[in-house]
Structures are given as C-alpha cells and as structure tokens.
C-alpha cells in the first residue's frame, strides 16, 4: 500500500515528510511498546502508535523504519517532527483509536507482520 493511499483511508494529517508519500509499505504493526517494535518489526512497515515522544523516532531510526501514524488525535512536538524530517521519515496523525485505524487499513488490504515463533 502506498502511504498516499493510507492517508486517504485514515483521513490523516501529514505532520512530516509530505514529499515521501509515494513510498510503499508492505505491512503494519500497531504498538505502544517500543521494545516490542524493536523485537518484531522490519523496514517497509507502517508503525501505528499512541506514543509521541522522541524515542519513537529513535526506535524507528534503528530499524530503518520510516513511516509512522500517531493515533487518538495525538501529535508529537516540534522537536520530534524535526528529528523525523532530518531522518526522512513520514509522520501522520489520525483521530481514530489504534484499533480503529488498524482495522481500516487491514480492511483495505494492508496485512500484519509475521512474528517468528509466535
């Protein structure tokens, strides 16, 4: 799924990285635990989270994960957005809950990641 399509489906607001909306994501992962993100996620994954702090961007950076959707109407502060722009990341904000946003994307064909041993 292209990020542009995900934006339409979620009626999302772009918070950073408008120029990269033609990027493709192969699956999504919804989580507020950054340690679990570090344990399970690959690049080309869209991360949906309710956490908006700097460590979300740092976590994404370590994984080469470049696309993040913030749910529940939460928006990261300017420092977070600035670091994301520096790392060429796309940040979007949606009003939906984590469950709802995940469901909307899943229904539109974006699948889950595979977890080894689970």
């Amino acid at each position: 799924m292209l990020l542009r399509e995900a934006k339409e489906i979620l009626d999302a607001e772009i918070l950073a990285g408008e120029e990269y909306m033609d990027r493709e994501v192969e699956a999504a992962f919804s989580c507020d635990l950054m340690s679990d993100v570090l344990a399970f996620v690959d690049d080309k994954v869209l991360l949906l989270t309710g956490l908006t702090n700097l460590q979300v961007i740092r976590t994404a950076e370590m994984l080469d994960l470049s696309n993040i959707v913030f749910v529940r109407g939460k928006k990261p502060n300017e420092e977070v957005c600035r670091l994301a722009r520096e790392k060429k990341m796309v940040l979007m904000g949606v009003k939906h809950t984590l469950f709802e946003a995940s469901g909307m994307l899943y229904k539109s064909g974006l699948g889950a990641i595979k977890i080894e041993g689970a």
Partner: protein, 143 residues
C-alpha cells in the same frame, strides 16, 4: 566493503535518566557503520542492540558508557555501567520480566524485552553483573 586496516573504536558516555538524549550514541554508531560500508542487515542488528543497551543504562543504572570496536571481521559492542547491578541475571533475561520505572514505561520501554533483544540480535552475547556491582554486557557481531 574495503578491508579495514585497523580497528576503529567509538566510545559514548550515557547519562543516568537522560531520556531525551537516549539513542544519540546508537544513532552515531549506526551512522559510522553505514559510512564504512557495513552490510545494512548487520548495521540494523548492531543498532538495535546498541540502542537497547543505551536505554538500559538510562533506565536502570547510575550512568555508563557504550564502546564499539570495529575490526575486519567483527563488531564488538560493550555496554558498561556504574551499577547498581542485576540481582538475578536469569530472571532479567526472561522475556517480559522488567523492573523499569513508570517514566521508562511512559517512553515505551520496560516491556522486559531489552536483554532478550540484545541476545537475539548478536552472534555472541555475554553479561556480567551482581547486586550492587557494575554491569557489563558484551555483544559480538560477525561481518
């Protein structure tokens, strides 16, 4: 990758409870590894392990440092803190076990996945610690 003629050593201080700076050292380590042309998959594994170490030092210790040594065939990441040690290493290595503070949990950590993640991503993993003492974690990545 051009063969490295000598070992490159990087060292970063990591402060106690410095949540806003956590990740800076790992970010720099990742940048250097990319610059010298290490395979992207290896860089990612090192970055994850270094970042988990950094977060651990910030959350659990009195401060410490992360050292990275890059030679022609391996990358060694060492996380060495000033205490206060781990009482039961076996328990600490269990997925889901955590003694992290609320502040750490609010940042998205404290899920009890840090040490297991570090072990999983590295080719060799060793940890030395005891209650009241320093903790030293060494991780080796073959390249």
């Amino acid at each position: 990758m051009a063969e490295l003629e000598k070992t490159i050593k990087l060292e970063y201080e990591v402060g106690k409870e410095e949540f806003s700076k956590a990740g800076l050292a790992s970010s720099n380590i990742k940048k250097v590894l990319n610059q010298i042309g290490i395979d992207a998959k290896v860089v990612r594994r090192v970055a994850i392990a270094a970042y988990e170490s950094e977060i651990n030092i910030v959350i659990h210790s009195e401060g410490g440092k992360i050292t990275t040594e890059i030679s022609h065939d391996k990358i060694t990441v060492t996380a060495h803190d000033k205490g206060n040690g781990i009482e039961n290493i076996e328990k600490a290595m269990t997925k889901g076990f955590s003694t992290a503070s609320n502040e750490a949990r609010e940042m998205g950590f404290g899920a009890g996945m840090g040490l297991p993640n570090m072990k999983r991503t590295s080719d060799q993993f060793s940890i030395e610690s005891s209650k009241g003492a320093e903790t030293k974690v060494e991780m080796i990545f073959n390249i």
